[in-house]
C-alpha cells in the first residue's frame, strides 16, 4: 500500500534564462508535486574573473571594473574600493568630496532599492509598480549623469576624492527631486506596500531567524530584517556618517514573524526614507572646497593585507586587498552580499512552493553580476 503511494521527485531546471532570477542564475529543483524538496543554485554564468583582472591592472585602473561588479549601485562599489586604497596609502579625501560621496552613494542606494522593490513586486505578478519605479529611478539616473557623465557605470568616485565637482545648480535639482520623490514614494507604498494581497503573499514566508542569518552571514537589509541592528555606517563608521542623523530600520515582524519576506521588503522601503533624510542633511551641510586630494600618479601601497568594509545597498561589502608594494594589487577579493545571500536559498527554499521561490529570491535582492564577479 505504502509503496504505491510513494512518488518520485521530479527534477526541474529553472534558469539560467528565467525572468525572475534577476540575471543569469540557474536553480536545480527537486520537487514533490508543488513543493520544493531540494534547491541547488548553480551560479557562475556571469563570472568575469574580475579578481584575476585586478592583478593585471593598476590601482586606479581597477576603479571602472568595480562599476561592473554591481551595476545597480556602481557608486557604492567605486567608493568601497577607493576607500580601501585610500586607507592603504594613507590619503584622506577632502571634506567636500566626502559629502559628495555620501550624496551620490545615497542616491544610488535609493535607486538600487527601487529596483529591488520593483522586481519583488514584479515577481509577484504586479508589473505596474516596476514600471512606475523605473520612472522614478530615471530621475536619479539623470542626477547622477549630470554629476558623473555616465548613466550606469559612473566611475565618479576615484582614489582621493571625486572625478569632478558637482555642476552648477545640481543641489537645487536634487532638492527638487527629493521633494517630488517623497510623494512618489507615498504613492508607491499605497500601490504595493500596504496592499493586502501583497502582504498576505509575503508575510510568514521564508522566515530567517537571527541565528540563521548570522550563521549564513547575511548582510545589510537581509540581516536587519531578521532583527539584528547592524549597519557598517554605524559600526565601523567611515566618511561623514558619524555626523549625520539617521535611523537603522530593522525588521519588526509587522505582518508576521520577524525575518520573513515582508520584513525584508519593508526594511528596504524604510531605508529609502532614511536615505532621503541623509540627503536632506547633506545638502544643507555640504561645504565649499576642493574635491580631490593630492594623489601620486603611480600608487604603490605598502605591502600587507587589508580588509575594508563598506555598506552598499546589498549590505556589508568587504574588499580584501593584498598588496606587495607594486603598481597593481597582488590579490583582491570582493566579498559581496549577494554571494552569501544566495547560499542561504538552498536552505530557505526547502518545503516551500515553487511559486514562493521567486518571492524568496526577490526579497533577498540578489544581483547576478555581484554574485559571480
Amino acid at each position: 500500500m505504502n509503496k504505491e503511494l510513494t512518488t518520485q521527485f521530479m527534477t526541474i531546471n529553472m534558469g539560467p534564462q528565467h525572468p525572475s532570477t534577476h540575471g543569469v542564475i540557474r536553480f536545480i529543483i527537486d520537487t514533490d508535486g508543488e513543493i520544493i524538496h531540494r534547491c541547488d543554485p548553480d551560479i557562475g554564468y556571469l563570472h568575469r574573473s574580475i579578481e584575476k583582472i585586478a592583478e593585471k591592472v593598476t590601482w586606479q585602473g581597477f576603479v571602472p571594473y568595480t562599476d561592473r561588479v554591481d551595476y545597480l549601485c556602481a557608486m557604492n562599489a567605486n567608493w568601497a574600493y577607493s576607500m580601501a586604497v585610500e586607507k592603504m596609502i594613507g590619503v584622506e579625501a577632502p571634506r567636500r568630496a566626502e559629502f559628495i560621496r555620501v550624496i551620490v552613494a545615497e542616491l544610488n542606494r535609493i535607486s538600487s532599492h527601487l529596483i529591488a522593490i520593483g522586481t519583488t513586486a514584479m515577481d509577484m505578478g504586479a508589473f505596474t509598480p516596476f514600471i512606475q519605479l523605473l520612472r522614478e529611478r530615471e530621475y536619479i539616473n539623470d542626477l547622477l549623469e549630470m554629476a558623473s557623465g555616465a548613466r550606469l557605470t559612473y566611475n565618479y568616485i576615484c582614489i582621493g576624492g571625486v572625478m569632478a565637482d558637482l555642476p552648477l545648480g545640481w543641489s537645487e535639482k536634487c532638492e527638487e527631486f527629493i521633494h517630488h520623490f517623497d510623494l512618489a514614494m507615498e504613492q508607491m507604498n499605497r500601490l504595493v506596500t500596504y496592499n493586502q494581497i501583497f502582504i498576505n503573499r509575503m508575510a510568514n514566508l521564508a522566515v530567517v531567524s537571527p541565528q540563521m542569518a548570522q550563521a549564513y552571514n547575511l548582510v545589510g537589509p537581509n540581516l536587519r530584517a531578521s532583527g539584528i541592528k547592524r549597519d557598517v555606517r554605524r559600526d565601523a563608521p567611515y566618511s561623514v556618517y558619524p555626523e549625520l542623523d539617521f535611523e537603522i530600520p530593522v525588521g519588526k515582524g509587522l505582518e508576521g514573524e520577524v525575518g520573513d519576506c515582508y520584513d525584508r521588503f519593508f526594511v528596504r522601503v524604510e531605508e529609502i526614507r532614511e536615505s532621503l533624510r541623509i540627503l536632506r542633511q547633506c545638502l544643507k551641510m555640504i561645504p565649499e572646497g576642493e574635491v580631490m586630494a593630492k594623489v601620486k600618479k603611480t600608487i604603490k601601497p605598502p605591502a600587507g593585507h587589508y580588509y575594508v568594509r563598506h555598506e552598499t545597498p546589498r549590505g556589508d561589502t568587504g574588499y580584501f586587498i593584498q598588496s606587495d608594494g607594486t603598481t597593481s594589487p597582488y590579490r583582491l577579493k570582493i566579498r559581496s552580499g549577494s554571494f552569501t545571500g544566495m547560499s542561504i536559498i538552498g536552505e530557505l527554499a526547502k518545503g516551500t512552493f515553487i511559486a514562493d521561490l521567486v518571492a524568496i529570491i526577490g526579497s533577498l535582492d540578489v544581483v547576478a553580476p555581484e554574485l559571480d564577479r
Binding site: H305, F320, Y330
Partner: protein
C-alpha cells in the same frame, strides 16, 4: 577587543600553537592542524563571540597558499583575521562548514579558484567555473588557456584588427624598455 588581546586569550586557552603577525592589519597565524580548534574557540568563547564568518579567501604566495578567515562579532563589534598557510604541494585544510554554514560556498569558491582541498566539506565542487575546467586561475603560476577543451573555441581571439594588435605589442614593449 583588539587582535593582541584576542591572541593572548587564545594562547592561554587553546593548546594549538598560534603566532601573532604584525602588519597593517594584525592577524593570527594558525597551522592547519589547529585551525578548527582555534576557530571553534573564537566562535564559542563569550569574549570573542565571533558568530559570523564574514570572509574566507586565500592567496598564492610562492610555495604556499595562505588562507584568510575574517571573523566578525555582531555583539562585540570586532573583526579578527586568522591566517592559515597550506603548502602548495599538498594544499589541504580542514573545513569549517560545521561551524558556519556560510563557509560552504566561501570554501567552494576558494577551492574553485585556488585549488585548496577542504577536508570534511560536504559538497566540494567548482562553483564559478565549469565542472571540467582545468587549473586554478587565481594561482600565480596559472597559464591562461588558449582554448576550452576541444570546443574549437579560441579564447585568444582578439577582435582588434591585426595591425592595431601588433602596434600594441610593439608600443607596450617599447615602453617597458624605456622604464
Amino acid at each position: 577587543m583588539n587582535t593582541q588581546d584576542a591572541f593572548q586569550l587564545i594562547q592561554a586557552k587553546v593548546s594549538a600553537p598560534i603566532q601573532l603577525l604584525e602588519g597593517p592589519t594584525p592577524s593570527i597565524l594558525v597551522r592547519p592542524q589547529g585551525l578548527v580548534e582555534v576557530l571553534t574557540f573564537a566562535k564559542e568563547d563569550p569574549q570573542l563571540d565571533c558568530q559570523v564568518l564574514t570572509c574566507q579567501t586565500g592567496s598564492h604566495q610562492e610555495d604556499e597558499i595562505r588562507l584568510f578567515y575574517h571573523l566578525l562579532s555582531h555583539e562585540q563589534n570586532h573583526l579578527f583575521v586568522f591566517e592559515c598557510p597550506v603548502p602548495l604541494s599538498d594544499p589541504k585544510a580542514p573545513s569549517v562548514t560545521s561551524l558556519w554554514p556560510a563557509a560552504n560556498w566561501l570554501e567552494r569558491e576558494t577551492y574553485d579558484l585556488l585549488g585548496v582541498h577542504f577536508e570534511g566539506h560536504p559538497d566540494l565542487r567548482r562553483i564559478m567555473l565549469p565542472e571540467d575546467w582545468e587549473g586554478f586561475p587565481l594561482r600565480k603560476d596559472y597559464v591562461t588557456p588558449t582554448s576550452y577543451h576541444d570546443s574549437g573555441f579560441d579564447l585568444t581571439v582578439d577582435n582588434r584588427p591585426s595591425a592595431i594588435t601588433q602596434s600594441f605589442n610593439l608600443s607596450k614593449g617599447d615602453e617597458k624598455e624605456d622604464e
